[in-house]
């Protein structure tokens, strides 16, 4: 069983909201070409929900990938901390809540987990990324490849930015 969880989400019909799934698909193709894809569990969805807490079982490291609005360009990468009071709506759930739910389900700490947030510009209903997002995707992909080459909490922490306020 893969010990590293990679989860990306977004609506591919809403322009730059597709950044997460697009990066994951390219990353998996790259990992497959190197014969290392089976070391990772690849999860893609429209949105995070409580169900994704179960994917954390047995994992030693997790990466969550999403598009961001008004976030740092081209991307930000930072460690995640489970929320003490997790929240959720019908249409959104932050990864910090997913980690908290996992801890409640399993009664043990979640594995070290990180967020890779790619900045998007356009979230209207249309196919294809904006030019800026396409650039962010290429830079984010190169960074994510670096992460997967050395998937340990220590090495990822060394590359992490401070969490956004």
């Amino acid at each position: 069983m893969a010990e590293v969880l990679l989860t990306a989400w977004g609506n591919t019909s809403r322009s730059d909201d597709a950044l997460g799934p697009s990066l994951l698909q390219r990353l998996e193709a790259w990992a497959s070409s190197l014969g290392i894809a089976e070391r990772f569990e690849w999860v893609e969805d429209f949105q995070l929900q409580i169900d994704h807490a179960l994917n954390l079982e047995g994992k030693t490291l997790a990466l969550y990938i999403d598009a961001g609005q008004d976030t740092a360009a081209p991307f930000s990468f930072f460690p995640l901390v489970p929320l003490k009071q997790p929240w959720h709506t019908t249409h959104a759930m932050p990864p910090e809540s997913v980690l908290a739910v996992f801890e409640q389900f399993s009664q043990k700490p979640a594995c070290p987990s990180f967020m890779l947030c790619l900045k998007g510009e356009d979230f209207e209903i249309r196919e294809g990324l904006s030019a800026a997002a396409q650039n962010h995707l290429e830079l984010g992909l190169a960074f994510a490849q670096t992460l997967l080459k050395n998937p340990t909490p220590e090495s990822w922490l060394a590359l992490a930015h401070p969490p956004p306020p």
Binding site: N11, I50, A53, L54, W87, T89, T90, H91, Q104, F105
Partner: protein, 498 residues
Amino acid sequence: MLELENAKTTQGLRRIAIDPVSRVEGHGKVTLLLDEQNKIHQVRLHIVEFRGFEVFIKGRPYWEVPVTVQRLCGICPVSHQLAACKAMDVIIGAKQLTPTAEKLRRLMHYGQTVQSHAVHFYHLASPDLLLGFDSEVAQRNIVGVAMKYPDIAKQGILLRKYGQEVIQHVAGKRIHGTGAIPGGVNKALTAAERDEMKKNLPQLIEWAQGAIDLVQRLHEENPAFYNSFGQFESNMMGMVRGDGALDLYHGDLCVKDGKGKPIFDRLNYETYTQVLREEVKPWSYMKFPYIAELGPEKGWYKVGPLARVQTCDFIPSPLAEAARQRMLAIGNGLPVHSTLTYHWARIIELLHGLEVIQSLLDDPDLLGKDLTVKGERQEEGVGVIEAPRGVLIHHYKVNEDDQVTMCNLIVSTTHNNQAMNTAVRSVAMQYLDRRVISEGLLNHIECAIRAYDPCLSCATHALGKMPLQVELLDAEGKLLSRLRRDSLGELHTSDMHG
């Protein structure tokens, strides 16, 4: 005239809107008109979405339709696909499917019933039932349940996941697969896939039984509340097999009145246009169906789990039938009509779905390779299925160029339109009339709607976050105050005075 549908006058009344109703599929709103003493004069459930499927299906080739109509809904796409396929079976003259094809369709359908009922009970309804109707609003959701009752939340997730996996094995995808086609199915099941589905099934059945026990215990602990909340008599419609058994895939329609007396004991669904009419009201996009011979005021009816388990004579799986008998016992020989009993009936059906799946997985026909049939081409076809939320009717006409020339859909939630309106009026009178309105009391109205598990989307998909906003306006429509729950669950009050 239906009570509380239209106020005698709107002058001097203030309006409260619950917009949108949350933890349901799609968008709807409730409006209440009250006087200065908070006496309620009018309550309406408005469906504010517009569906255009019947129109843009026209001109498309018939074989596209079962795939296209799945886009009506992200929760019950399998029901739309199967109802359309059943209609198109008639069009292509496939009078009798092969045993393998019919059983694979049934497997897919009961898998969907399991996943849909699990989503509703655990994700949407359990926050009210387990945490309280007026509990802290920011915690009244599935994450709140997970934090307080982690085992129950986890079971709900895994039950839903199992239903999705069954769909994926038969249809190729969890959502919007292409398993069923006119005349049969397009994919055989492998022994490995069957064996995968058999894993953990006894555990899932045990969990479903536990959920039934939980709901029964809630009713037993507070019978006055559960038996009276949104209680009203109505006709009920459901699909039954020839021997009177509950059948969610195929059968005749059975309609009973509020006392359980048959109105139509067996009705061939192909004749639905002769017995059903639809009324249009200016304040809602959703029509109001009724039984023609009884008229719009007396001919409306309920569909869905609570109607189904009471229109059938029995459930053809032992554990679910035993649970049904325990539920019926609270009616003392008469049908049960309290709105919250929908949850009980729904979980009984979830258990039944798992029992049916278990039985199908033991059937050697399931691994057959004979998947499709066809016969003499017809111009018109009706397909009806019991979707998770109730009777779903698809009706098409197709010309000699294979293009659809007519499409009529009556979706489950439409059948329940008048029943939901009656439920919210009943609850409004029980809990809000002449009282100071609070978010918790307004949630009682939402709970009445949620019990029906309405699928208000069925064409549009809600995008963005789902806040709740309640506005208080004076008789001239001027905004006096606003209570808003944001996407974090936090409440914000704006007072417009001064």
